[in-house]
């Protein structure tokens, strides 16, 4: 277990190194749930994926995406957190027309 934690930290360190210059300039819309959303999503990817997909997304689309990130890609979050993140994305980045 200790070994696994150490390995996870190493991988996270590598990810931090891999963060691209510039991505920290993007802040998601200031609304309830933003900090949680930024914190969870940015573990694996820059936040520009979110506004880039807003024109494609409605609440159902974000629901599928959040579920995919948890179930398929192993994004660590509780059910309550997933609900908050979905509410935030659906309220702020669901521009599908």
């Amino acid at each position: 277990m200790k070994g696994r934690m150490a390995a996870a930290c190493l991988v996270l360190a590598a990810a931090a190194l891999a963060a691209r210059a510039g991505e920290e300039t993007l802040r998601l819309k200031d609304a309830p749930g933003r900090d949680l959303t930024q914190g969870r999503c940015a573990v694996c990817h820059s936040l520009d994926y979110i506004p880039a997909n807003a024109p494609v997304m409605d609440r159902a689309g974000w629901g599928k995406t959040v579920q995919k990130m948890r179930d398929r890609f192993g994004a660590p979050m509780t059910d309550a957190e997933a609900q908050q993140i979905l509410d935030y994305l659906a309220a702020n980045y669901a521009d599908k027309s």
Binding site: V11, A14, A18, A19, Y49, P55, G74
Partner: protein, 396 residues
């Protein structure tokens, strides 16, 4: 390089294509405005995402016969992308279907195997997803998740044969050095049917346009699968496994799939289900690189519409242009044949004798008779957008 502001100013002023084509703007992509940004060692490209990096080649950089290495698009699924030391790099070749597992160095590849070159289009499966209607989730690519290069390396089949292919081998699995941030995220592994892996055109490539592969395009060695979409062109290759059972990984079983029976192209039967099948071959397609909608032409001026046409390896037979709402079609002049997996340039003299709007459509036909469709076959991931492209120009 012009700044984005300068490019927009040029665009706003109206322009004829003389190298001042704006890479930016909703007109070119149907999507959001675009930011140009340079990855280390690359020229400024259209940034679709910072991390994992996804950068698209601007339209004007698709004009040359061969896309420059520093302008070639960049596409990753996973954010941990190690810089690999070519001297210590090793390629493991094994698997349940390998009789004599190997470990290869770059020197081994250079010394022990015949060197070959193939000109081929590398096109992301999701190229043009951002133009898809109805829109599809994913990286919102415009037209530039593609490029044409001369790839140099060794034949995959020569390496597989040296490792010894056991009876019952069905697929060959490829892994690269790029990794997920979280251990729970599926690593990016892809497989090919054994028959395709043994095709003489499939390479373990170490060179691109006569130079070592750029880091962002898979250094020091990547798979090159001419005619098939970019998802199979695994970068930073570290492991090749000959397998006797179909590969079960996420990136084969769940991702990069299209509805079964809806599209032409090679059927990857060991991975097919009644509902979905892996995307495989590139469909016949074309792209106008000389103009985008809104461009103004001077009346009476000598102007050529130009672009590229390509397919999954049959080769391009003809490119046709319609200037009358697709009622009649005229044949465009084809450029040099760079090989059946490469794109083919086309040129067509535009009639600028009459003022007004000019709608031009382009369609390519491949040597196997396939042509570009008029309507999109909708699929959830936004793949295979090869519908006939049109531009509206203005003669003034």
């Amino acid at each position: 390089m012009a700044t984005r502001r300068e490019l927009l100013r040029v665009a706003a002023g109206g322009w004829l294509l003389t190298g001042a084509l704006p890479a930016a703007g909703a007109a070119a992509t149907g999507g959001a405005p675009e930011d140009l940004e340079a990855l280390p060692g690359k020229k400024p490209l259209i940034r679709r995402a910072w991390r994992p990096p996804n950068f698209e080649t601007p339209l004007e950089s698709l004009v040359p016969e061969f896309t420059r290495n520093e302008e070639f698009f960049v596409r990753y699924h996973l954010a941990v992308i190690p810089e690999i030391d070519a001297d210590t790099w090793r390629l493991q070749v094994g698997g349940a279907g390998a009789q004599r597992p190997l470990t290869l160095t770059l020197r081994d590849l250079r010394r022990d195997y015949k060197r070959v070159k193939v000109a081929a289009v590398n096109q992301c499966s999701g190229n043009r997803r951002g133009l898809f209607k109805p829109r599809a989730a994913g990286v919102q690519w415009g037209n530039g998740a593609m490029g044409n290069a001369e790839w140099g390396g060794v034949r995959l089949r020569d390496v597989l044969n040296r490792a010894g292919i056991a009876a019952g081998a069905v697929e060959v699995v490829f892994n690269g050095a790029d990794m997920p941030v979280l251990a729970a995220t599926p690593d990016f592994l892809k497989s090919l049917p054994i028959e395709r892996a043994l095709d003489e055109n499939v390479l373990i490539a170490t060179e691109m346009n006569g130079h070592p592969l750029p880091h962002w395009n898979g250094a020091p060695a990547r798979l090159v699968v001419p005619g098939w979409t970019g998802t199979y062109w695994v970068k930073h290759l570290t492991e090749i496994r000959i397998e006797t059972t179909p590969f079960e990984g996420f990136w084969m079983k769940s991702a990069y799939r299209i509805p079964t029976g809806k599209f032409p192209g090679y059927r990857f039967r060991t991975q097919e289900t009644a509902e979905t099948t892996p995307i495989t071959e590139i469909l016949v397609n074309s792209l106008i690189t000389s103009h985008v909608s809104g461009a103004q032409l001077k009346r009476g001026a000598h102007v050529e519409l130009a672009g590229k046409a390509w397919d999954g390896g049959a080769g391009i037979a003809a490119v046709e242009i319609s200037a009358d709402g697709r009622r009649s079609w005229q044949t465009a002049v084809l450029g040099r044949d760079l090989g059946r997996f490469a794109w083919r340039e086309f040129r067509y003299r535009i009639d600028t004798s009459t003022s007004g709007a000019l709608d031009l459509s382009v369609r390519a036909r491949s040597r196997d008779g396939a042509t570009q469709p008029e309507t999109l076959t909708v699929n959830p991931s936004g793949y295979h957008d090869n519908i006939v492209q049109a531009v509206r120009l203005e003669v003034t």
